[in-house]
Amino acid sequence: MKKEMLTGNAAAAWGVRLAEVDYIPAFPVTPQTEIIETLARWIADGDMASRFVTMDSEHSMITAAGAASATGVRAFTATSSQGLLYGFEMLYAVAGWRVPLVMVNVSRGLSAPITLETDHNDVLAARDSGFLQIHCETCQEVLDSILMAYRLVEDERVLLPIIVNMDGFYLSFTREPVEVPNLERVRNFLPPYQPKHAFFKASQPMAQSVTALGGSLYSYFKYQMHLGSQKALEVYKEVCVEFEKEFGRHYDTIEGYMLDDADYVLVMTNSFSTLGKAAVKRARARGIKAGLLRLRLLRPFPAENIQRALTGKRAVAVIDQNISVGKGGILHSDVASCLCNEKQRPLLFSFIGGLGGKNISPGEFEFIFTELIKAVAGEAVEPSQLLYTEEEWQEMVRLKRIAGKE
């Protein structure tokens, strides 16, 4: 198998091409645009047989993608940040239709102030919608996850849409070696989508997503979505085994790095996990039993896997690349909820890192490990905090002076 240098965006486009998607409604937004540009070029050149339609907004785009999915074709779309929020109400609608749409989100911090760089407030805003979520660390994983995503959500036991997430710039525009699988092997793993449940066609009229006045009716549909999402954990395991059989690469719901014998653990997601792994390696070299747990499948939430991975550890720091304003890190709460009934639960810290693409320096990782060690020795566990370096603060002081903020 030959590798080539591809950006995360190009890897995503290859995933869509190999999945032989039928319909792609599109709307540009930085840093996602390269995905749809690449697909548009391939379709124009005759390399792909998909139908590509430019839409007037993300709201229409997500509607069109979901509606196409409801007719039984394989659909794809992609967005980012403000675009995801602009189409937000349709996320809930499309999930409620129980259609297997695959959407890529390229993470970018939300305005205001406006930025182009990455954090996960956009994709995590969609966490309650019914869309499943896979978060990727590498460009290879982006391509592979798109193939796995179709296989997972087209399964009769699931039938919910899914977001495959990657970091803007740090993955979307970063080139690294990626293996592009052979189309025949992809077809072995991902057969054509042939829906058996009700879907739109002229000879078989149906109404989709009817009104459900009355709480007991509404509750039934919503809770079935939740159970379908939970069922996806079981299906995901099968998909994972099948994928490894065909392509030799293993992607569990979570990934442990030097985790088995670790006492002090970082919990991270997406491309910044690479920085966390390097920090774990450095800490190990200093004699600290450090490890890292990367969360990959975030919805459905793999609570049991996380419980097993973290129970018995001495102290854990969840590094959230997001902020729930007024609460703190979003994933910290999720992780805490699946550990709180464990007798052997670790001390649990919350750090906010990498907001708007801010680097997490080696010094910050060191600070975090030091805090964990001190807490195990009896010092207090501090509340959620965002770390800053002296240089970053001095730069902010300088800019505030220019802005007349003294």
Partner: protein, 307 residues
């Protein structure tokens, strides 16, 4: 273990991103692990951008910006005095600085008071001569490939691969290869004497509270844009021939920056500190009395307030 970090500094449109890809591809084709990555704000031709290439003999466990490069490639020398770009920041001891300039290394060292190994070459002139344009991506990629010690064959294959993904015109592709190979041979081989950096320890702390009067993203001052001298964005400057100029003022009306003024005699003149060199005035002059000259002298940003 080998790990080399190269940082490119250019202006939007010069090809810094593609230069980082030429280098990354050359390293990858030579059997190394490679990673390349650009960083820029909202697209603005002429504005400072940076791009990064990492080359290693084992999987790369780094991402994002390179703060301590072994090699810095300065594609526009006016960036050396840019307070935001800071192209030389963090360069490792024993590292190499390449500057795109007609100056000799000694002249550049004296003008910018730079320590360290300096290599210079006028990439823009070579590019104008061979390609009749100022997009120097292949040329900058080529000098970087030479500095890090990659082979000519890898460079040639990388330029072919990367440029053919961007342009379909085979003549442009051939000329890119020609220009790249010329630059590869025009600079001397060097020895990189950097060692693995010891991270400078910086104090880390929890961000404290500041009231909204300070912490809202608002500017309470006017005139901050004059602190950015966009005159450095120029490759060419517009020049008037007052003997032929009939004072029609069309250039004044067409200037998108509003930086063409009129003197007491009614002749147009430009504020070169802010003219971006878009040359719309040259294009629009009905009498064709406006010409263009290659810009070779850096204008310093104002030394006050910023920095």
């Amino acid at each position: 273990m080998l790990m080399l970090r190269v940082r490119f500094h250019g202006r939007g449109g010069q090809g810094a991103k593609v230069a980082s890809r030429v280098l990354g591809t050359a390293a990858f084709l030579e059997g190394y692990y490679a990673q390349d990555f650009p960083l820029y704000g909202a697209e603005r031709r002429g504005a400072p951008i940076a791009a990064f290439t990492r080359i290693a003999d084992e999987p790369i466990m780094e991402r994002g910006v390179i703060s301590e490069p072994d090699v810095v490639i300065v594609m526009d020398k006016t960036l050396l005095r840019d307070h935001q770009a800071k192209p030389l920041s963090g360069l490792k001891k024993g590292g190499v600085i390449f500057i795109n300039t007609p100056q000799s290394p000694e002249e550049a060292r004296a003008e910018y008071t730079i320590a360290g190994q300096i290599i210079t070459l006028d990439l823009t002139k070579i590019c104008l001569d061979i390609l009749q344009r100022t997009v120097i991506s292949s040329l900058a990629g080529a000098v970087a490939a030479k500095i890090v010690g990659l082979s000519e064959a890898s460079l040639k294959a990388a330029v072919e691969k990367v440029i053919s993904e961007i342009v379909t015109d085979s003549v442009i592709l051939e000329k890119n290869i020609e220009a790249a190979l010329y630059c590869f041979h025009a600079i001397p081989a060097v020895e990189l004497k950097t060692t693995e950096a010891v991270q400078m320890e910086s104090r880390v702390f929890t961000m404290p509270f500041e009231p909204a009067a300070i912490s809202s993203p608002a500017l309470n001052t006017t005139g901050t844009t004059v602190l950015r001298k966009t005159g450095n964005w120029r490759v060419f400057r517009p020049v008037w021939d007052y003997d032929a100029c009939n004072k029609c003022q069309i250039c004044v009306a067409r200037c998108p920056e509003g930086c063409i003024l009129v003197n007491e005699e009614g002749f147009p003149y430009v504020d070169y500190e802010n003219c971006k060199g878009c040359l719309i005035c040259v294009e629009e002059c009905p009498a064709k009395t406006l010409g263009k000259e290659r810009e070779v002298h850096a204008k310093a940003d104002s030394e006050e307030v910023i920095g």
